[in-house]
Symmetry: C2
Amino acid sequence: MARSDTRYREAYNRLLDHCAALSAGTPLPAETVLSEIAGVSRTVVRRCLARLSDLGVIALDGRAKYLLRVPGPEDRIDVTRSPDGREDLEQRFLDWILRFDVPAETPLSVAELARTFGVTQHQLNEFLAGLSRFGLVARRPRGGWMLRGFTKDFAIELSDFRLVLELDAIAKLVEAPVDHPVWQRLADLRERHLILASQIDTHFHAFSKLDEAFHEAINDIVRNRFVAEFQKVISLIFHYHYMWDKTEEKQRNAAAIQEHLAVIDALEARDANRAAEAARRHLRTSRSTLLSSLRHHDLG
Amino acid sequence: MARSDTRYREAYNRLLDHCAALSAGTPLPAETVLSEIAGVSRTVVRRCLARLSDLGVIALDGRAKYLLRVPGPEDRIDVTRSPDGREDLEQRFLDWILRFDVPAETPLSVAELARTFGVTQHQLNEFLAGLSRFGLVARRPRGGWMLRGFTKDFAIELSDFRLVLELDAIAKLVEAPVDHPVWQRLADLRERHLILASQIDTHFHAFSKLDEAFHEAINDIVRNRFVAEFQKVISLIFHYHYMWDKTEEKQRNAAAIQEHLAVIDALEARDANRAAEAARRHLRTSRSTLLSSLRHHDLG
DNA sequence: GTTCTTGTCCTAAATTATTAAAAACAATTG
DNA sequence: CAATTGTTTTTAATAATTTAGGACAAGAAC
């Protein structure tokens, strides 16, 4: 009752597959070679060989190994791969917080969360430890975790930080060479914005996705691991709140489209000051949208 | 052999102290009250009461509790508080990496590190998970961790990021009101810089500390949890590398002092452009120092 | 009957123990 | 002596254990 032996089971089946391609009587290569074939350590290979020998698939004679019979599908062992929940834990966790509108200062139960997300407590603990670097969660004095959550201060600080990063990206973008792929991306985005603007009455919901694409294109110019890490969180949070604050959604989105187009115009004109000003204006709008969506939650 | 019972032991001694102030025959208050006195849950209080009763210090009679005898120092139980190594794990870990010049792509052994730092593997795992958010370490495909380390790319990206944050701080600083404490701090820093400049021949080692104080004062103006979190790491890394690159240390530090003074001058003149330019110049120097210290390590 | 106190039980979190896997080292064989 | 295997040690993942916290119910005291 310790760690799972998935690794061994998978290796065993891989080795079976390897043997199935041979004919009976063929000698098998050395353990080292087999371990490379199966992509595991020699320890695992030896366990597999022992079982193969027990079941009479191979014969071990000193240091020689012969295939006694060609294995079939019935020889395989079950491998109930525990689904690796760590995959998109971040997405799912943020989604959970935002979707269920978990309030700030909520105590988080590792055990419960681990159940809901289908991961071990250990994995969840590590994940929370990571998030604590973003100030999103914190350890409680007597053990356990607490969601520091989307308070007003958090939103303001996040918006400020976003502004700093994005203005930097804008400044770098203006300096990008003419053959940089970003210009094509921006041209495409302009098209999509114009199309959406013409259909705003019926398709205004589609803006959220477009907003994400727009900011991603801009920030993509900054090749920086620190920036990239933050962008993931930032975009997710803004994306969700955009979708939720339903007050005057159509007007807001129509206005935002124009703000985006103003940024694109200025960028294509290589006018750094104008681009910065346009970006600043848009991010100010974005920030107040985020804040107002928080206010609505406070009230209701 | 699970978690320590330090909490229980400390609570027990606290309750003893409480009883020592009473006289024999005095009735004790309810469990709930005692739990507030000792600052623990009722569960712990009950365990303490059971022991007190076993040792004949108190008598439990239905719901009444009487003090049989006034406890003395001999009744206390040992409490060997395990030192909380989590305290400054971050400092010590970065110190270790930098001091022993651990190269990039080094596999990190949780077991070994936990031993050296005197923490449990669990705690170290959580810590590494946190660091992975900064891209300093990463999980290895088959379990375990790897130090991604101070490569050239890392240094460049870190410097870039620092530049972005610090220019923002500078811009905000210029706008700070005249009665903001930062101006006094800057005035003090100017003094210290001038003093050090006059003694540069003998005291040039002292610059590293001064550099740290200077950047801290500037960045302190930005009240932002995300910025603050990064500053911790940034300052530590630059601080160490400053101390190590011994090539032309005196000249470098003398030059850096002048760069700092130029920033202070511009700030006090409320000249945003000049301050930004001066900061940019200083950070450029700082960056090349960091890079050259990496190059030296590569060679040697 | 209401309120305070305690008994009981359940859940959570920290930490140890256990197991699988990897790696290092020694021995052996061709 | 080079390749291979046997053996041992170490590491990392995870289940099990234990302490702690809290909820609820039963009962006593007023």
